[in-house]
């Protein structure tokens, strides 16, 4: 097993389809033709190597220019591992999210909720040698969208990860436990496999929670492993 071994196919039901009628924006944007399978070559097996020298880390989204953003301060921490449980070290994670009022700090977002000059809403961290990461932020607010009448996105944080190869690229969203909007959200519910879907929900973690400072949430990422799916012992 080395860096010329192909990445494993995604497990059935654990990834969304392109055509999801409940999510209206997929209607004109999903391909109608079947995808063409491409056995992995060096192009898919290798990928960019981002370094903190070129892409400086920004692990505290909760303040700007020394002024604290409004909202409930949180710490999000966890690990990035592959499907065999091996840590993915020194990989870049990009983060972006709405502010506590449910508004993104960007002109495109016209939701009538207050901006917060002390909250930019984007960050970047790198995993350590054990695949661990951690950042401080503000709990994002829910916000309305036009997908269907009275549609609201649950509280969520966006993530972008690269991993070791072009084929391990992952763009996803983390949700919060107990959110009443989750059962109503077509983006969250596009994952057929309920276990895979539920893994998009972070868990509250007292061990990550910092006394007198911020609540802690654990969220682990799993990137594709290499080679054939291992046979479970005893299976």
């Amino acid at each position: 097993m080395n860096d010329t071994t192909p990445f494993r196919p995604y497990a059935a039901g654990t990834q969304p389809d392109y055509d999801v009628p409940a999510y209206g924006s997929t209607k004109k944007r999903h391909p109608m033709q079947p995808l063409v399978p491409l056995p992995h070559t060096v192009t898919e097996l290798s990928g960019p190597r981002f370094t903190a020298e070129r892409f400086p880390a920004a692990a505290d989204l909760s303040q700007r220019h020394g002024r604290a953003a409004m909202g409930e301060r949180i710490i999000v921490a966890g690990r990035v591992v592959d499907e065999d449980g091996r840590p993915v070290p020194h990989t870049m994670i990009e983060i972006w999210q709405a502010n506590a009022a449910g508004r993104y700090q960007i002109d495109r977002d016209q939701h009538d909720a207050p901006l917060d000059a002390n909250f930019h809403g984007a960050g970047r961290v790198f995993t350590d040698a054990q695949g661990r990461y951690r950042f401080v932020s503000i709990k994002p607010g829910a916000y309305p969208w036009r997908n269907h009448p009275n549609a609201w996105r649950p509280n969520h944080i966006h993530f972008s990860l690269f991993g070791p190869g072009f084929a391990t690229r992952l763009v996803t969203q983390m949700y919060f436990p107990g959110d009443p909007l989750l059962p109503l959200d077509p983006v969250f519910n596009c994952i057929a496999d309920t276990a895979a879907r539920d893994r998009l929900v972070a868990s509250f973690d007292l061990a990550i929670t910092q006394p007198d400072y911020a609540l802690g949430y654990r969220f682990d990422f799993v990137l594709r492993g290499r080679g054939a799916t291992p046979v479970e012992a005893g299976a």
């Binding site: 109608m32 192009t43 972006w96 960007i106 977002d109 930019h120 072009f166 996803t172």
Partner: protein, 173 residues
């Protein structure tokens, strides 16, 4: 062990990540045969996709201090994207095969719950005739959706259609 984390859409506000110049892969001082690759992304109605994140990756020339091999570009209101990079050469394929020069492309956008992957090859390359992926696409019109056309000196164009007439060939990787 758990399977790979599920993908979710990049949404319409990913531009918080966007950094000026990230579509120029030569910005860290890379030297070599400089080219541009531009195009327009359209949806099933032929309307421009004005909120997409387009990324390219190339394994040749090999990454170095001055060349990351990766670029990102936001489409504008007319659906246009444009990269500046170094022209890739042939790269090894599987077994003894040789792949024609190409760029890997990933497209993320609102309405895409997972990224779309395609490639840009370059018209006129001799190796296009024997490239394993191009050879696997029997319909010449479909194959042509992966081949960028010259628009001028060192300028290449590849339009992308997400759905419908002239739909781009997207890849399962």
């Amino acid at each position: 062990m758990a399977s790979a984390t599920a993908s979710q859409t990049i949404g319409p506000f990913w531009h918080l990540l966007d950094e000026t110049g990230s579509g120029d892969l030569t910005r860290f001082g890379a030297t070599g045969e400089r080219i541009t690759l531009g195009g327009v992304i359209r949806d099933g109605d032929g309307a421009p996709v004005g909120d997409a994140c387009v990324e390219i990756w190339q394994s040749d020339p090999p990454a170095s201090e001055s060349f990351l091999g990766f670029g990102r570009c936001a489409t504008d209101a007319e659906g246009r994207f444009r990269f500046t990079t170094l022209k890739p050469g042939p790269v090894p394929g599987r077994g003894n095969a040789l792949q024609a020069p190409h760029l890997a492309i990933a497209i993320f956008a609102r309405g895409l719950l997972k990224g779309l992957v395609t490639r840009a090859y370059f018209a006129g390359e001799r190796l296009n005739e024997t490239d394993p992926l191009l050879a696997a696409i029997e319909d010449p019109a479909r194959r042509a959706t992966l081949i960028a056309r010259p628009e001028g000196a060192a300028q290449w164009r590849l339009d992308i259609r997400l759905q419908g007439d002239g739909e781009t060939v997207f890849l399962e990787i």
